[in-house]
Assembly symmetry: C2
Homo-oligomer: 442 residues x 2
């Protein structure tokens, strides 16, 4: 991982796609995130696209227009005409970087390719998305020490931060089958809970429905079973990042999670944003890792000067809630929190190095969650459990509505972006998900 | 789940494949388990087969010989000529049952099909196997109360069996990518451990390597996200069962497992047997579930008369160990334990009903582990952790060698079979896996 800026990062670059140049878009020409899309409501095959301003460039069209002529071969042609990103991910980040450079050149003002491509763009407003990749395995980490501490206080008041936290990038396996793309609406889960002071559990719809604001990480080229990915090479195995809402049923979780971890409290739905932002695009937003002077130095396999100096990302993470009433009254979603990925105790490269140190194999398209990203301040908490102090302190919105947990009909919106003076804004778009009423119990 | 015996179960049935009739084989004509095979060492495509005696019938050949003529259609033809069982699993158990009936008729003594098929059989001794299915998600349960109690005593002496155990079929998500087929040899994992009384963790090869003897369950037809599978229908969604060795690094597990469960302690390798035995074949071996009079009745979604009366399976589970020296000296693997799946506190249908009660979707080819199957007696324990009482009591073999945990070069063999007077033996074959030395640490 050496963080280098190249010509695709130049703030001076402008695109012939006018909406990419307004400074407010998530998708300027310096971003070029990958996704899988088709025309909304059509029966077209899903295909590989890149977001530019408020438009999408279809990479199979770009391929046939010859913009990858310098680097094209059969494997790349296969990857760019696939219905998922796995083949492109599998080609490795050097190829993805070359693809982005070709795209950057073709989408610049005065590019020769403009003539061929301009009529082929599809408005994002007219598109629908599929999962970017077939996700073989999904692993969820727990990298925010602020989240671990405040949730730990609620579940284990006498023992909030466990002794392994500052040594082990804690993670666990999640469920792939129920991961959906932004727009996912799912039923309130039904299950067992143990009410306070009860002696037998209750069965019914979960009552303490929550979100978790996370960064999602797509693995590019994997590793063979039995090999480990060195921390210095770890980011070469990361294709890019998106937003992840790891929905959680807190009452189910509290009753089921010991001794083997959360299960039905989490696996009913997880929702991700459609655009995968490359680490290359985020290069201007690198930061030193977040540690206190009193924190232990990690073990050698989790330590490297590059990670210390530039392993973290300055990505703002915003969560908003829109009730059914707000929607009906034309009120936009209301902000619940604003945090930043830079507060994460463990970095992306530490997650990858840890995951594989035992020889576990990652495959192209595998997905990692960062864990809930709560910042140090109370208002930076990435879940309602934290914001309402375990359900004790309701949140009041400007229209007078209140929430402790998510109610049927509510939508949760998450947005992420990196922005600073002198560099283009690199955005993630948004992930939206909605809670439907529980199915009826016979 | 109504347990009915049909003509495929008749003990009187004999096959023209002579080795299927000797009473000792795992694969008489009443079994007919499905697997994915090819000639060992060849570059042939893997294909669908059925075990009969010491032979394999290639189902693409059987299809072309017309033995499925009565039931054949495009979807079935696709499923029987596939390289994995997922398409067949997806067709549902009624189809799998019809396929077994056609096979039973074609493989019986005096069957007309004998002439066409006899020259096409492949000896199991000349075959190699692939995973039966592409496993989308792998979930590991914890259904043996004897295992949960004795391991609980080691990890939490004051609190061995947690209060949720008799209410919740505890499970957690595992890793799909590192599941391998019998014959898997893998390197000793490397990782963090916290030695007793130490204040900083140690890094290096795991020292407490263990196996877990489990039954593996392949899902057939799945369910839609948001729907639940009723306990009465649950077994219609189970394609069949095999043996599973859920390798575990106990020292890694002890340090990492709180609060989110085991991760690197388990995901470096899991090994399964190649033949998937249908529940239909196991119908003569149904038993009442295993409960004490003082145990609580499960909640309604986990309770049904059929499950109470016949939800369990009488399957013997044997574990053996062969050291490198035994192999070199021509000594066979030595028995470590013999247990039975009927001791499981939670049944297969309870696992499926619980997994989906919150709306979680299962897909054809998904895989469930039963959790370590330890019986009530100490010698029935399904792991070395239990057999050696946490590593305190070595096991001595007849050649004088001793083991506390698994050493480099050791192989673990697991076998499973159902057998009783008046019914044919229904066997699972075996799953073998071997531990290689750790990779060198730079």
């Amino acid at each position: 991982m050496s963080v280098q800026l190249n010509e695709t990062h130049s703030p001076a670059l402008r695109s012939w796609v006018v909406s990419a140049n307004d400074g407010a878009t998530d998708f300027p020409i310096q971003n070029l995130p990958f996704g899988i899309f088709r025309r909304a409501g059509s029966n077209e095959a899903f295909r590989v696209g890149v977001a530019i301003g408020d438009q999408i460039l279809d990479l199979s069209i770009a391929l046939h227009a010859g913009i990858f002529a310098e680097i094209s071969n059969a494997a790349l042609a296969h990857a760019l005409t696939a219905t998922q990103l796995n083949p492109l991910m599998d080609l490795g980040n050097q190829v993805a970087s070359q693809v982005r450079l070709c795209l950057s050149k073709a989408l610049r003002e005065h590019a020769v390719a403009q003539k061929q491509l301009v009529g082929t763009l599809i408005a994002q407003a007219e598109a629908e998305y599929a999962l970017p990749a077939q996700i073989g395995d999904y692993t969820d980490f727990y990298t925010s020490i602020h989240h671990a501490t405040s949730v730990g206080k609620l579940f284990r008041p006498d023992n909030p931060l466990l002794p392994n936290y500052k040594w082990v990038p804690i993670g666990y396996h999640g469920r792939s089958s129920s991961i959906g793309i932004s727009g996912q609406a799912f039923r309130r889960p039904i299950g067992q809970t143990m009410p306070p002071n009860a002696t037998t559990p209750t069965f019914g719809p979960a009552k303490r429905m929550d979100y978790e604001c996370e960064v999602g990480i797509f693995i590019g080229q994997g590793n063979a079973l039995g090999s480990a990915i060195d921390i210095q090479e770890a980011e070469q195995h990361v294709f890019g990042m998106c937003l992840l809402n790891d929905w959680s049923a807190r009452d189910v979780q509290a009753w089921e999670y010991q001794p083997l971890g959360p299960f039905l409290a989490k696996n009913f739905a997880s929702t991700i944003s459609p655009w995968v932002v490359t680490l290359e695009a985020l290069a201007p937003y690198r930061k030193a890792w977040s540690r206190e002077a009193t924190d232990p130095q990690p073990l050698a396999y989790l330590d490297h000067a590059d990670v210390r100096n530039a392993g973290a990302f300055d990505i703002q993470l915003e969560v908003l809630l829109q009730t059914r009433k707000m929607r009906e009254d034309g009120l936009p979603a209301q902000r619940l929190s604003l945090s930043n990925f830079c507060h994460s105790y463990w970095t992306v490269s530490q997650m990858v190095a840890h995951h594989t140190v035992n020889g576990c194999n990652l495959r192209a398209g595998d997905f990692l969650g960062s864990g809930t990203q709560s910042g140090p301040a109370a208002e930076e908490a990435g879940s309602l459990l934290e914001l309402t102090e375990g359900g004790k302190k309701p949140i009041t919105f400007s229209n007078g509505e209140q929430r402790i947990f998510i109610e049927d009909g509510d939508s949760i919106v998450m947005r992420g972006w990196a922005q600073k003076e002198g560099a283009p804004r690199i955005g993630f778009g948004e992930v939206v998900g909605s809670l439907l009423p529980a199915r009826s119990i016979p």
